[in-house]
Amino acid sequence: MAEVTLKNLTKRWGDFVAVDGQSLEISDKEFLVLLGPSGCGKTTTMRMIAGLEEPTEGEIWIGDRMVNDDLPKDRDVAMVFQNYGLYPHMTTFDNIAYPLRVRGTPGSEIEPRVRKAAEQVELTQFLDRRPKALSGGQRQRVALARAIVRTPKVFLMDEPLSNLDAKLRVTMRAELKHLSRELKVTTVYVTHDQIEAMTLADRVAVMKDGVIQQLGSPDEIYNDPANLFVAGFIGSPAMNLINGSIQGGHFVTTGGTNLVPVRAEDRKEVVLGVRADDIRVSEIGQGNIDVPIYAFENTGEATLLTVQWGSQRVIAKGDRYLRKEQDDMIGISLNPEHLYLFDPGSGSRIRA
């Protein structure tokens, strides 16, 4: 039960800056996701909170205590590792019991608490097995149970689902969400998977090159990206980013002549961002412009149309019953409510 505060946290290895002067306030009971591509400093940030990595500069506060000089064992955090970090020579029971034993919990309390934690992650029938005899998903549950068996101030989860197969990941994601809402403990969760970030988080911090690019609710980072990086990183398929200029209130693509009305002043260079689902697909002549289909993909739940728009390619999402062929002409229209303009130089958002 605690807030976590990072003040100007920096981690450098020689010339390499992993985390660059990061400040962040995580409220009590909040589920915060650190999201970013590999090498963006998200895991380093979490490891510094855990005490497994020493910050070069800055302060880490857990609750009302600065923990910079505390050993991991004294920080009262629990961590779930990407590779689970289970003790291979101990049974599931002993794995889960270890944090209790090592903290001197009375023997009579250990068994009921281990059983309760095992129940919460549906592991009761595997308590006497070693990790080697467990499947990936079960190992993941042991790691979770080991974290929840005591009530730490903060949960730290380092890509806990990334070693599971796609199907199991979806199941575990839901279980994790259920569990986190039940336990109500401050949680920092690291992932490079935007779906995990979107579905689990109260707030998401999108990181790149050791700097938080945007901090906000999943809605905010999806619907109101702060810059080009966030816009391109969040969403699948990725947001279309189209180069062009603004002339007389219209967006003109580079090398194209097609016009879309936008609410912004004239500029020589601009990037227009639009999500695939904000592009409406229609018959020829009925959209803003007519374009040829470069590729038509049917995913079952929807259709994805990559179209050639001037010299650039754009992905639009079509109805699941739409059927087209390559090189067919279609009309597309952009939803003017959901267009984002960015400065190509700085990457920052241009707001009307």
Partner: protein, 290 residues
């Protein structure tokens, strides 16, 4: 010629060499251990005594029991000290870094020296007149200035142990660094976050996962300690008296110096017994299937 015949033909020379240099001498020594076997007495190599040589060693040879005792203490001390010190060094060096590669290179040097050479150099270093250790001890700890290390039975034994530990630490350290590298970092960090102190992380997580490697190290070193010969031969030649006479040295003395080949062979075969146990244990640890 068929492939199957050819492959045996190709292996044949190797088999012949191994047979001539290892298998035949092994069985010949077993045969000799049942004979009077005195090199000075013609015909005695075919004069069979049954188990008399073995009984003789057990019943009438205090020198045999002395060397058993010396070998046992020597093995326990060298295995224990080498393993503990090598483990400590490995733990210090395991985190890696710039420091390590340099130290690792330095470390391998003692292991590159032949045991006989280690014996000779330690003998020189402990020489009372011009020995390095003697001089250093004399300056640092004046009361030790006049100690004649290799003349005192206990000190001579200690010097032998020290030379052996010195020579073996590097290799065992390298093996244990390799072993430590195979302990997943995740499990160590998990234990740290779970609340374990440095010592408990080591005891509960590192050590159990290192156990198979540690077992191999201990067994290997025990085998090498049990059969120590060259270093002792060069350093003290078993003396003063028989204070540092290991079994191998005792066997060598009886066989080569006194010409009692039959008796020496029987003691050598007695030494095989602990070796078999150790080799079996070693094979079990190294070749066990997961």
């Amino acid at each position: 010629m068929r492939d199957s015949t050819l492959k045996y033909l190709l292996v044949l020379p190797a088999i012949v060499v191994v047979f001539a240099t290892a298998i035949w001498p092994l069985f010949e020594s077993l045969r000799l251990s049942f004979t009077v076997g005195r090199l000075s007495r013609p015909g005695s190599l075919e004069q069979y005594l049954g188990f008399e040589n073995y009984l003789w060693a057990f019943l009438y040879e205090p020198a045999f029991w002395n060397s058993v005792w010396v070998t046992t203490i020597y093995t326990i001390l060298t295995v224990g000290l080498t393993t503990v010190l090598a483990l400590g060094l490995a733990l210090l060096l395991a985190p890696g870094g710039r420091f390590r590669s340099g130290v690792q290179t330095l470390l391998i040097l003692p292991f590159a020296m032949s045991p006989a050479l280690i014996g000779v150099s330690f003998r020189f270093m402990f020489n009372p007149e011009f020995g390095l250790f003697d001089a250093v001890f004399g300056v640092l700890i004046p009361p030790l200035a006049d100690v004649s290390w290799l003349v005192d039975p206990v000190l001579a034994f200690a010097v032998c142990v020290m030379a052996d530990v010195w020579g073996w630490i590097p290799f065992l350290t390298l093996v244990l660094i390799g072993g430590l590298a195979s302990v997943p970092q995740d499990t160590i960090e998990a234990a740290q976050v779970d609340g374990a102190s440095g010592w408990r992380v080591f005891r509960d997580v590192t050590l159990p996962q290192l156990a198979p490697v540690l077992a191999v190290v201990i067994i290997l070193k025990s085998i090498f300690s049990l059969k120590t010969f060259d270093q002792i031969f060069m350093l003290t030649n078993g003396g003063p008296g028989t204070a540092t006479q290991t079994l191998s040295h005792y066997i060598y003395f009886n066989g080569m110096k006194y010409g009692q080949i039959g008796y020496a062979a029987s003691v050598a075969w007695l030494m095989v017994i602990p070796m078999i146990f150790l080799t079996y244990a070693y094979a079990k640890f190294v070749f066990r299937r997961e």
